[in-house]
């Protein structure tokens, strides 16, 4: 089976220092048997969707190094409760699990906090947080607001869930524009549902 490991969003900028080109998120193909580790998160992107067009395969996989599959999936369910977006596939929330797993791999304290947090979620849900109703999940997460566990997961969501190509595509943000010549000929003033301001307020664009 062909799968797509979802690379974490690069935090360093050294790779773009010279050229100014921001590397696109790397989605190399990998064979199932190469995915090892403490847990594997997998899923599929809806065929024919905008997001599937970004990927070489509709099947995605994320390899965890410290957390278990169940812990990863529970964190994904928590993230979907914190920032619920119907238009985002599980693959986006899996980036959150992968980034939290990387933090856990780097710190035993973080790993313990995440594991304890997940087991707390499950016990409050009467055994399985993932299977709880949306209302129940929301009530449980609301009860955790202010805890270090909640803060760590929500804080990581801000970059993991939103700062990636799939989220950009889902929400309609095209990202980098300079290599396309900006918007001067690509709709920076194409809004038609309001009248155009007079030239005194908004002169014509200089086009050479």
């Amino acid at each position: 089976m062909r799968t797509i490991p979802i690379a974490p969003v690069a935090s360093a900028f050294s790779d773009c220092e010279e050229s100014g080109i921001v590397p696109k998120q790397n989605l190399p193909l990998a064979r199932r048997e190469f995915l090892k580790g403490s847990g594997i998160l997998m899923g599929t992107l809806a065929a024919g969707s905008v997001l599937a067009g970004l990927a070489p395969s509709t099947v995605w996989a994320v390899e965890l190094k410290t957390l278990s599959q169940n812990e990863g999936e529970t964190l994904m369910a928590m993230a979907r409760t914190i920032y619920p977006h119907k238009k985002l596939p599980d693959a986006v929330y899996a980036i959150l699990a992968k980034d939290l797993d990387a933090s856990a791999a780097g710190s035993a304290d973080v790993a313990k906090m995440l594991r304890d947090g997940v087991s707390n979620l499950n016990s409050m849900a009467g055994g399985n947080f993932k299977k709880a109703s949306d209302a129940k999940k929301l009530a449980i997460v609301k009860g955790l607001e202010g805890s270090a566990f909640f803060g760590a997961v929500r804080g990581q969501c801000v970059t993991s869930v939103y700062n990636n190509d799939m989220a950009f595509a889902a929400f309609g943000f095209p990202g980098s524009s300079w290599e396309k010549g900006g918007y001067i000929t690509r709709g920076f003033q194409d809004l038609k549902w309001l009248p155009a301001p007079p030239k005194s307020a908004s002169p014509s664009a200089y086009m050479g």
């Binding site: 920032y83 619920p84 869930v161 001067i184 920076f188 809004l191 309001l194 307020a201 908004s202």
Partner: protein, 522 residues
């Protein structure tokens, strides 16, 4: 480019290369004066800038440790990041939006015009608008500000269309695409704005004025500038006569260096500038350099700010085009009938999808919050920026409990909103929401202040040495060859974005320093 010896004590040493330091350096070099610029950050270029919000933040922002205290919300949401300013050659002129507005006449006389405001440490500037006007004119010409010097305004983007339509329905009159230091047509060897939509990430087209690719290369071409990037100054030294004699810094290899100087000009922005004066305390100056007034680090201002975002039924795509080319100036007047002194500007603003979830309402979550992100393409946004009250207790101090990588105490930024700031912000929020409702908004959102981009006032200029740190030329009252050359000089904040005034003051200060050097006064 010049190479000035460490023990050469004939040069002017400028700390910082942004709007103040970069401009001052060029002005002095053009007059034939040798200048060393010590810049803490590395040198980037339009080629190396990235259209990626978080990556650019890592590339340009000042991320050395800082702490916060006080009741301002930034202390809770961004406790280690009081300010969103830059550590790079060009300083925050790489990041700024380009809005270039002159202060109004009454804003130089805040104490006289506003009267005694309890809890505020107001003071009139030691200079007037008419004294600064010739320098405003020079700065506008240098920076290529639209709607001055025959330069046309920028074309308005979709976000401006929404702002304009709503503002006009409310009866506002002063609404246009702003006075922007962004080329609407090619000028001064730089191209026109490509409407990239990433003004805050460093302008990749070079259309936006930044000292990085205007003042600094022009200064280098004179052969009088020795620019040293990645040079972090930790101390200003003085001699037994109480005059500054040089600075100590760590170079790009982490080696400690000492550069002698005839004159030292501090332009590290309003957090690092007072910090450096405080770090340079000695037996002779036990409370820090130039601090006989006790005002170093005090009166920290950050402008009354806030944002309003609005969702519409139809797409706006606010991220397309020049970020801040849109202004409503009607509320910038002083009209105490509104319940506050001073005024505010309303300016178009947008954030990309990466920054939006971090800044729309820090800490917020849940379905309603997600709704706003779901409607990203249908959002319009504006920034509210107005005069805040200087307070002695709003101040930059040394936090001896936290050390930076050179072992020095980090700056702590303490800020409490003055009641006037709060009343003004609520007024501005209400008017902002009314504008968007008039344009057909289905929902509006009041976004709290971001980490400070306008940091001002911590070494203010004053007529009387008792009231401030420096005189009307930015020359410190206590040490004649030590100058304050950035927004720290501001006696009060005004309603306007501060860069044009910082540049104007720097041009004026260069004339003064050159005269003083010729007269052998310094």
């Amino acid at each position: 480019m010049a190479s000035i010896a460490f023990n050469d004590d004939s040069a002017v040493v400028i700390i910082g290369s942004g709007a103040g330091g970069g401009t001052l350096a060029n002005e002095l070099c053009q007059k034939g004066i040798k200048v060393v610029v010590l810049e803490a950050g590395a040198r980037q270029s339009p080629q190396s800038f990235v259209n990626d919000e978080w990556k650019s933040f890592g590339q340009l922002a000042w991320l050395d440790p800082r702490t916060t205290s006080g009741t301002w919300r930034v202390a809770k949401d961004f406790s280690g990041l009081p300010a969103w300013i830059c550590k790079t050659v060009g300083g925050s002129t790489t990041h700024w939006a380009g809005a270039s507005l002159r202060f109004q006449e009454h804003e130089f006389r805040a104490k006289t015009v506003y009267g005694d405001i309890p809890g505020a440490n107001l003071l009139d500037w030691p200079i007037t608008l008419s004294e600064l006007e010739p320098y405003y004119a020079k700065a506008e010409n240098k920076m290529g500000v639209t709607r001055t010097n025959g330069i046309p305004g920028l074309p308005g983007n979709n976000n401006f269309k929404v702002l304009y339509a709503g503002a006009k329905k409310l009866g506002y009159k002063g609404v246009h695409t702003g006075n922007m230091a962004i080329n609407s047509q090619p000028r001064d060897g730089r191209g026109r704005c490509m409407q990239l939509g990433f003004c805050f990430q460093g302008c990749k087209s070079g259309a936006k004025w930044s000292t990085l690719y205007t003042e600094i290369p022009k200064a280098e071409a004179t052969g009088n500038l020795d620019l040293r990037p990645e040079s972090h100054v930790t101390r200003i030294e003085h001699n037994e006569k109480g005059l500054v004699s040089g600075v100590v810094y760590f170079d790009k290899d982490g080696k400690e260096q000492r550069q002698k100087a005839r004159v030292v000009c501090v332009a590290g922005n309003s957090i690092e500038t007072p910090r450096l004066l405080l770090l340079s305390a000695s037996n002779m100056f036990a409370d820090g350099l130039a601090n006989s007034s006790g005002q170093v680090g005090r009166n920290y201002m950050r402008h009354m700010t806030g944002s309003v975002y609005a969702a519409f039924k139809d797409p706006v795509h606010m991220y397309r085009g020049t970020t801040m080319a849109g202004i409503i100036s009607d509320e910038s007047v002083h009209n105490p009938k509104r319940g506050f002194v001073g005024g505010y500007e309303m300016e178009t603003l947008s954030l990309g999808l990466a920054f939006m979830p971090a800044f729309l309402d820090p800490g917020a979550w849940g379905a309603e919050y997600a709704w706003w992100m779901d409607h990203y393409t249908n959002l319009a946004g504006m920034w509210l920026v107005g005069e805040d009250m200087p307070r002695e207790t709003n101040r930059v101090t040394l936090n001896t409990n936290v050390k930076d990588k050179w072992g020095n105490p980090v700056p702590n930024v303490h800020f409490d909103d003055h009641e006037n700031d709060i009343v003004m912000r609520n007024h501005a929020f209400t008017q902002g929401e009314r504008i968007y409702q008039a344009a057909g908004a289905i929902k509006t959102y009041r976004t709290p202040p971001y980490p400070s981009t306008h940091n001002l006032g911590t070494c203010r200029i004053s007529a009387n040495a008792r009231d401030g740190v420096a005189n009307k030329w930015g020359q410190t009252h206590d040490i004649p060859n030590l100058f304050i050359s950035d927004g720290s000089q501001f006696t009060t904040g005004g309603a306007e974005n501060p860069t044009l005034t910082i540049v104007s003051l720097a041009i004026r200060q260069a004339d003064y320093i050159a005269r003083q050097m010729t007269e052998r006064a310094i």
